[in-house]
């Protein structure tokens, strides 16, 4: 936790700088106090439980909430300070709301036209045809919002936010209002967008799954303050963070595709001097990919086991281990495969029986991996 009156960071000229001083909102006990820099590229997730202040923070960035004493600037351009308060419609942002929030009196296509007419002509982030093909919305354009499914509406809303040609895209839990099936339908579009966008994206979510799949950087909020921030990959591999205690605790490993076995439907990713096999997708040799490994899918053994169906067996060193404070029967073990951290969730009994200790060389058996992007 930081106190912004004592720590005065250098404001980076090529980032979104936000500082908000301790402010109590309304009658609630909720307060927001933070000082953060959001990098000017990639996807930054604002992650935290509901009520942690992430949506309020996003609305402050957009200028939709102004009652906070805050300083906000993008690339040196001041949006909010003691003397300046740029209204929302003058901020070069795109905003995707939790509910798609399309104009009900306009068709999907007219909703897009609304943005096109008011877009910043000097700044061309993305072309109309690119947006339409990226979101695959061509067949939907003549429909009214009430005729579309929740997922389709959200795709139109994302397209509309892009067509305003923003310098910064803000997304407020765009999947939260959708059921699981629709989420899985939209996630590939978001992954595609996050992968190809040449503008920074701030993505608010309380879903670890979405954050792992989409975010390059993370800012973790709790009760209105920042509790952790950093690169997604580095944060996920730490034991001390809240992620390690999350039921879906995972790490993300990235590497290059070095081998493909079409007859078995497998591709192999190089991690240090070892490889991890995964179910073949559309990747080709030489692609850089990210894989998600859930800690509950990793088990440990002292020696190479013959006769196991588990394909991925990595030689690792135990870097650290910690008993789950909420469930003393379980332990989280941080492993290093060369320099790549992997988390394994095992029972405390097993750790005791195997006499696991820091620095020990063991074999990590990985039951399954999931391909990210």
């Amino acid at each position: 936790m930081r106190n912004i009156t004592e720590v005065k960071k250098n404001t980076l000229s090529n980032a979104l700088n936000i500082s908000i001083s301790q402010q109590t909102l309304g009658q609630s006990n909720f307060s927001l106090s933070l000082d953060i820099q959001i990098p000017n590229s990639g996807v930054t997730a604002l992650f935290g439980p509901s009520g942690s202040g992430k949506t309020t923070l996003l609305r402050c960035i957009a200028g939709l909430d102004k009652h906070l004493q805050s300083n906000i600037s993008l690339n040196g351009e001041v949006w909010q300070s003691d003397s300046i308060s740029l209204p929302s419609h003058r901020r070069p942002i795109g905003y995707v709301f939790q509910e798609a929030n399309l104009f009900p009196h306009l068709t999907a296509g007219e909703n897009l036209d609304f943005a096109i007419k008011r877009a910043d002509k000097t700044q061309a982030v993305i072309s109309y045809s690119d947006v339409v093909s990226l979101m695959e919305i061509e067949p939907l354009l003549s429909q009214y919002p009430t005729q579309l499914s929740g997922g389709e509406r959200q795709r139109i809303a994302i397209a509309r936010a892009l067509l305003i040609q923003p310098k910064l895209l803000l997304m407020d839990e765009p999947l939260a209002a959708l059921d699981e099936t629709l989420k899985q339908e939209i996630l590939p579009y978001l992954e595609q967008l996050c992968h190809s966008a040449n503008i920074p994206i701030i993505y608010v979510s309380h879903s670890l799954d979405e954050v792992i799949r989409l975010a390059d950087h993370m800012i973790v909020l709790d009760k209105g303050s920042v509790i952790e921030e950093g690169e997604t990959q580095a944060l996920l591999g730490k034991l001390s963070t809240s992620f390690a205690r999350h039921q879906d605790a995972s790490v993300v490993v990235s590497g290059i595709v070095v081998k493909q076995e079409n007859e078995w439907g497998l591709s192999w990713l190089e991690i240090g001097n070892q490889t991890i096999g995964f179910k073949q997708g559309k990747e080709t040799l030489g692609d850089t990919l990210r894989l998600r490994i859930q800690s509950k899918d990793v088990s440990l053994s002292l020696s190479e086991q013959e006769g196991s169906s588990i394909l991925n067996r990595l030689q690792v060193i135990i870097d650290d281990m910690e008993q789950d404070p909420k469930d003393p029967g379980m332990m989280m073990v941080r492993l290093l495969a060369d320099k790549t951290p992997i988390l394994a969730k095992i029972t405390t009994l097993s750790a005791h029986k195997l006499k696991l200790s820091k620095g020990q060389k063991v074999i990590a058996q990985i039951k399954s991996v999931a391909l990210l992007r």
């Binding site: 957009a62 200028g63 939709l64 209204p87 929302s88 419609h89 003058r90 942002i93 795109g94 905003y95 709301f97 509910e99 929030n101 399309l102 104009f103 009900p104 009196h105 609304f114 943005a115 008011r118 877009a119 910043d120 509309r160 936010a161 305003i164 803000l170």
Partner: protein, 232 residues
């Protein structure tokens, strides 16, 4: 059906009055409705009450006070006199002013309900799409309030056509100036010209039915939105 030239004059005068009053009211009511729908101020309650008062007051009370205030001895009447305008009572202009007050709630409330029903979300979405406050009012709020405007227009017009008490108090009974249909019917009945009274009364019944039937059919098409709001 027997319509005398005087009856035709009364019909034309009524249509002229109702059209002008409705048109003016749409302009006057829009800012009032917008403010009432969006303000957090404590004044909202009192202003709402003032706007709604013609709904419950006897038209004679309204007409009486208008006569006092707008008459040659009243504060506004004196001002008019000093500025060189002709006095408002017993004139068409006076009737327009009185009718606007009388029909105000019938125009303000449907528009206000429509503005309230749309909530903040579409306007916030527009704000993040580089739409200025005026731009979002014209291209988001007004189009979304269209059902409210339709019922406000119809109700305002119909209610002005149907007024009697205020007209009698404020306008009197001057041919081509203040003698509207309802007054003409009254005259016919007083003179025991029941045939003529029948013709005009039947016209009014048909008019009222057509107007309300139209409103309710619009309302059915706009399923979740009540166009008549809290009025009917």
């Amino acid at each position: 059906m027997q319509l005398s030239p005087e009856d035709i004059d009364a019909i034309w005068l009524t249509l002229k009055l109702a059209s002008l009053v409705t048109l003016l009211l749409l302009f006057v009511s829009t800012p009032i409705a917008w403010w009432l729908a969006r303000t957090q101020s404590w004044l909202k309650g009192p202003i709402n009450a003032i706007v709604a008062m013609p709904l419950v007051l006897p038209p004679t009370v309204l007409g009486f006070y208008l006569l006092i205030f707008l008459g040659p001895q009243g504060p506004i009447g004196k001002l008019f006199d000093e500025l060189g305008f002709s006095p408002l009572p017993f004139s068409f202009s006076g009737l327009v002013v009185a009718s606007m007050l009388y029909s105000l709630p019938f125009v303000v409330q449907p528009i206000q309900n429509a503005f309230s029903a749309m909530g903040n979300s579409p306007l916030e979405a527009a704000a993040t799409l580089r739409s200025s406050p005026l731009d979002r009012f014209l291209y988001v709020a007004i189009p979304l309030a269209k059902p409210g405007y339709i019922s406000a227009t119809v109700l305002g017009f119909a209610h002005t056509v149907g007024e009697f008490g205020v007209v009698l108090m404020m306008g009197g009974n001057i041919p081509n100036e203040t003698r509207v249909i309802s007054v003409q019917i009254y005259d016919h009945v007083e003179a025991l010209e029941y045939d003529q009274a029948h013709s005009l009364s039947l016209l009014m019944v048909a008019f009222a039915f057509i107007v309300l039937a139209f409103l309710y059919s619009v309302q059915r098409r706009q399923k979740n939105q009540s166009v008549t709001g809290s009025l009917l």
